[in-house]
């Protein structure tokens, strides 16, 4: 067992800034992170870069479920990703590529991202307050 790496909490926006079942994009240390508020007010953070098209579009996909798992579907070529794990559930005929996810939580009505600093996003937010 190794100790969990230290994490930093980054406050991104208010929960009410997010439209239920639609993605928004947050810019965290220069990285685009798709934030998705599900119907039951869970918030997920997942990479916005669509690996299949190379465009920053994941947040603009439809949010739903597949076999009970919460999903987001790339608007470009319709690959389906598990919002909790980033796993590609339906690669639409291509090799499955998973998306990076980050732990996200709602604290006092604010959406916060937990980052260890070595997971692709810088420890401090850009913009926002």
């Amino acid at each position: 067992m190794t100790a969990a790496p230290p994490t930093t909490r980054v406050r991104l926006c208010a929960l009410t800034d997010l439209v239920p079942e639609r993605g928004s994009v947050a810019l965290v240390g220069g990285v685009q992170v798709a934030l998705v508020r599900t119907h039951d007010d869970d918030v997920h953070a997942i990479a916005n870069l669509d690996p299949y098209s190379g465009a920053q579009v994941i947040a603009r996909g439809l949010v739903g479920t597949r076999g009970g798992r919460p999903t987001i579907i790339s608007p470009m070529f319709k690959q389906v990703f598990d919002l909790r794990t980033g796993e590609c559930l339906d690669p639409i005929g291509r090799e499955p590529v998973s998306l990076r996810t980050w732990p996200a939580a709602v604290v006092d009505g604010q959406v916060v991202l937990e980052t260890t600093g070595d997971d692709g996003v810088a420890p401090s937010p850009v913009g926002g307050s």
């Binding site: 926006c13 439209v19 639609r22 810019l27 465009a55």
Partner: protein
């Protein structure tokens, strides 16, 4: 198919006298089975055309080319073993020499001769039956003469023409339909106490009369015609043995047919007491070289006036000519017809003539429905039935004759959907398609052993459902059951979240008045949806006029294009297409669009639909772009989503030397009428100002082409993966009728098509095809026209430009921010290079080389 296909050195010669549907079926059947070419065939027909679909005479003739009646498989006549002689009559048969002489003076030797001379229409011996304006109803020429006469009479008399049909049987009601289609004020005169006395009972006849009178046809039963009254050699009226006289300008005799057996009589062959060439159950006459099939054949003591037994006889003779032993199994006299748009069906022991029959009757004079089942005395076995006004149960019930129905017989008479229809569990030998004699076993075999996986494949393989089509629902059911058995899942379920099909979902949402996704999925589905069901429900709600597509929860249903009301392009930027109705735009409008493109650094291109497309807009730029476009008088062009795209037009009579109508004006009106209409697939319209068709309207879902007399409307055309030409729906419509027709066509499509199903396959898959759709939109055969009209009126009345509404709503505008935590930071992930003077997305190589990248969409100049 015989395995030995080595060609025969010198084929024998078969001569077929007669050029009707049954004669043609014999040629078809023989060529299909005679792989070795043992028979060369000469078909001699006296009409000037190849065999055609006489059964469809009425439904097809209105304004159509006789070519439309051609039966499929015209390449049959190119077969080197088949000779078709048209416009030739056989004058005599020399049985000793085995030779026929024809009206052209030639002779032909035969090894086998088949008489398929059919019938002629009987004319009752009443005085005046030979006046001008007295017709029979049998051939294309009869119908063409009738039409020409009615049209010229209407001009001469300068008033509406009135007519009578003598005979209220199948043929008479068909003829009445033809007269109604010619806008003739029509009376049907029947000697018997009810209409269709041979097919329906008293109750059915009454129901039928009520329905037909409801369509504006006067019905007089128990009436004998005593004279046709003339004036200057033309029909003017009729008198009857009782009852008042009738003023009419045209009379059609449809009192029955008589077999054309004169050739056989001359040749000394036996004929029946009431006519017809006597044949045994192999269709053979006493002369071993001569056969008779179809309406001229007297088989089992009678002549049969339906095409299905004639087809069976043709198959038997083909079999016998190749050495087989087929025999006539007895006639199925079932009939299902749509006469004047009224469903009538009669099958099995319809009159309960077998002893001990029980009759189950449902009669609803208000709804115009009469249905009767004849059951065995223990009420278990179906013997026959009569359906008037709603014959939807016919396809399922007819094959059940002689079998246990299972369950309450009355349940089968309730409207469709309220009772479980018989399943596909029919015994193998049951005839499902009686026109082509296809059994349930044959259909299952085509799925099981021949790899057919859908209805179209089964039709092509077995010919089931390719003639009258009334068995198609049952064929479909059997195919689905067999596919399921073979482990192929056949489901109309929309996706994992909904077990309903799109059409079913549309209905429940409409009927239950549901307005939110949550309500709909809670009642009818599971989970929280996906990229299939969410846009479908978004589209259904939009079609039902529930307000702005981004209002409340509806925003979650829209695919990215609908969500930002622009079109997602390959690099994640969007394109913008302002509406340019009919392709007509002012110079000021063009300048405004150009200025917007220039200020936002957008790439511009003329679209395939006569509009301007502006590419390379970032999501956060869309409100700014639209603020400018709305200011300049433009509105959303709905280039995104599944909805009306464009109404393409030529310049029409406004500028064109040849244009006969104002195609631009109509295109603009239509585009403004249907703008924003959400549908199962994108829809496009076109309007051409003359037959030169410069707008390519027949390549559109709805195409309108101007004529000297109004507008012709075509439907079901499209480009895309499977391009289709549109087919004629109606002719010479005035503008008001045209718009109503398009309203109904589009709304009916919107309601009933599958997700992403274009109009062409929708029409193909629709039961009864284009004819059935024509009946719905032009004759209101389903009784839903008012509903469709008011749905379209709601759409037109409540339309608001989606972009103008969005610009006025700060909550909606907030969704266009680039980053939720940094709304003022511009997304710098987009990169452009110059090409032909404009910016286009950089390729991955260009991006990594970090060269030639120009500022594109980041050069924003706000006014």
């Amino acid at each position: 198919m015989p395995e030995d296909t080595a060609p025969t050195a010198s084929p024998q010669h078969l001569v077929i006298v007669g050029g009707g549907m049954v004669a043609r079926r014999l040629v078809d059947a023989l060529r299909e089975r005679d792989g070795r070419g043992r028979w060369a065939i000469t078909l001699i027909g006296e009409e000037p055309r190849a065999p055609y679909d006489r059964v469809a005479l009425t439904s097809y003739f209105a304004g159509r080319d006789p070519e439309d009646l051609a039966l499929g498989g015209q390449d049959l006549w190119d077969d080197p073993l088949v000779t078709l002689l048209r416009g030739v009559r056989v004058e005599s048969i020399d049985r000793t020499a085995r030779r026929v002489s024809t009206s052209t003076g030639s002779t032909l030797d035969y090894d086998a001769l088949v008489l398929a001379t059919g019938s002629f229409a009987a004319v009752p011996p009443v005085p005046g039956n030979d006046l001008r304006g007295a017709f029979v109803y049998r051939t294309i020429d009869d119908v063409a003469d009738l039409r020409a006469y009615v049209e010229s009479r209407r001009e001469e008399l300068d008033r509406p023409v009135s007519g009578a049909v003598v005979g209220g049987g199948l043929l008479g009601l068909e003829a009445a339909g033809a007269l109604r289609a010619l806008d003739v004020d029509t009376t049907v005169v029947e000697f018997a106490p009810r209409l269709m006395p041979l097919q329906v009972d008293e109750g059915g006849g009454e129901g039928l009369a009520r329905l037909i009178e409801g369509l504006g046809v006067t019905v007089r039963t128990s009436t004998a015609t005593s004279m046709v009254v003339g004036e200057r050699g033309a029909v003017r009226g009729m008198t009857f043995s009782e009852g008042p006289d009738l003023d009419v300008d045209v009379v059609i005799f449809a009192v029955g047919v008589r077999p054309r057996d004169e050739l056989a009589r001359q040749a000394g062959l036996e004929v029946g007491e009431r006519g017809g060439v006597v044949v045994d159950d192999a269709c053979a006459t006493a002369d071993p070289a001569i056969w008779a099939i179809g309406e001229v054949a007297n088989i089992g003591g009678r002549c049969l006036g339906l095409v299905a037994p004639g087809y069976t006889m043709a198959e038997i003779v083909a079999d016998r000519l190749l050495g087989g032993g087929g025999t006539f199994p007895g006639a199925d006299l079932s009939t299902k017809l749509k006469l004047l748009g009224v469903d009538v069906a009669s099958f099995g022991d319809a009159f309960a003539q077998e002893p001990g029959g029980l009759e189950v009757v449902i009669s609803d004079p208000v709804a115009g429905v009469y249905k009767k089942l004849v059951m065995s005395d223990d009420a278990r076995t179906l013997r026959g039935g009569i359906l008037v006004g709603d014959a939807s149960a016919y396809a399922a019930l007819r094959p059940m004759v002689g079998r246990e129905l299972g369950g309450d017989p009355a349940a089968y008479l309730l409207p469709e959907g309220s009772a479980p229809a018989p399943t596909g569990d029919l015994p193998e030998e049951t005839a499902v398609c009686s026109c082509n004699n296809v059994t349930a076993g044959r259909i299952r075999g085509s799925v099981r052993d021949e790899g057919c996986t859908d209805l179209a494949g089964v039709k092509a393989c077995t010919r089931a459902g390719t003639s009258c089509g009334s068995c198609l629902p049952l064929v479909k059911k059997i195919v689905a059951a067999e596919l399921t058995k073979s482990g192929v899942e056949v489901s109309t379920a929309l996706c994992e979240h909904f077990g309903l099909s799109r059409a079913e979902l549309f209905d429940v949402v409409r009927v239950q008045g549901l307005t939110t996704f949550s309500e709909i999925i809670e009642r009818h589905g599971t989970g929280r949806g996906c990229d299939i069901c969410k846009p479908v429900i978004g589209s259904i709600l939009a079609s039902l006029g529930t307000g702005h597509i981004l209002e409340g929860e509806r925003a979650t249903l829209q695919d990215t294009n609908d969500f930002v009301m622009a079109n997602l392009q390959k690099d994640g930027s969007y394109s913008v297409v302002p509406r340019i109705p009919g392709g007509e735009v002012t110079p000021e409008g063009l300048i405004a669009i150009g200025q917007v493109a220039k200020d936002f650094g957008l790439y511009t291109k003329i679209t395939g639909g006569q509009r301007v497309d502006l590419f390379g807009a970032r999501i956060d730029q869309l409100p700014g772009i639209w603020a400018r476009l709305v200011d300049a008088g433009f509105e959303s062009g709905h280039a995104y989503g599944k909805s009306l795209r464009t109404v393409k037009s030529c310049v029409g009579s406004t500028w064109c030397r040849f244009g006969v109508q104002d195609s631009v004006g109509l295109a603009i009106d239509l585009e403004l009428r249907y703008r924003g209409l959400r549908s199962p697939h994108k829809i496009k319209l076109g309007v051409s100002g003359c037959a030169r068709e410069c707008a390519e309207a027949r390549g559109k879902d709805v195409g309108v082409i101007a004529t000297d007399n109004g507008w012709n409307v075509y439907v079901g055309g499209n480009g895309g993966f499977t391009p289709r030409h549109a087919r004629l729906l109606a002719e010479d419509l005035d503008t008001e009728t045209l718009v109503r027709t398009i309203d109904r066509f589009l709304m009916y499509y919107v309601r009933t098509a599958d997700r992403l199903q274009r109009t062409a396959p929708w029409i193909e898959d629709h039961e009864g095809g284009l004819d059935a759709i024509r009946a719905v939109v032009l004759e209101d055969s389903l009784g839903i026209a008012d509903d469709l009209d008011s749905a379209m009126a709601t759409h037109v009345g409540t339309y608001r430009d989606e972009w103008a509404a969005t610009l006025a709503d700060p909550d909606k505008l907030a969704r266009f921010a680039s980053f939720v935590n940094a709304p003022d930071v511009v997304d710098d992930s987009l990169a452009y290079v110059g090409e032909r003077g404009q910016a286009r997305p950089a390729t991955p190589e260009e991006r990594s080389s970090d060269s030639v990248i120009i500022a594109g969409t980041t050069l924003e100049v706000r006014s």
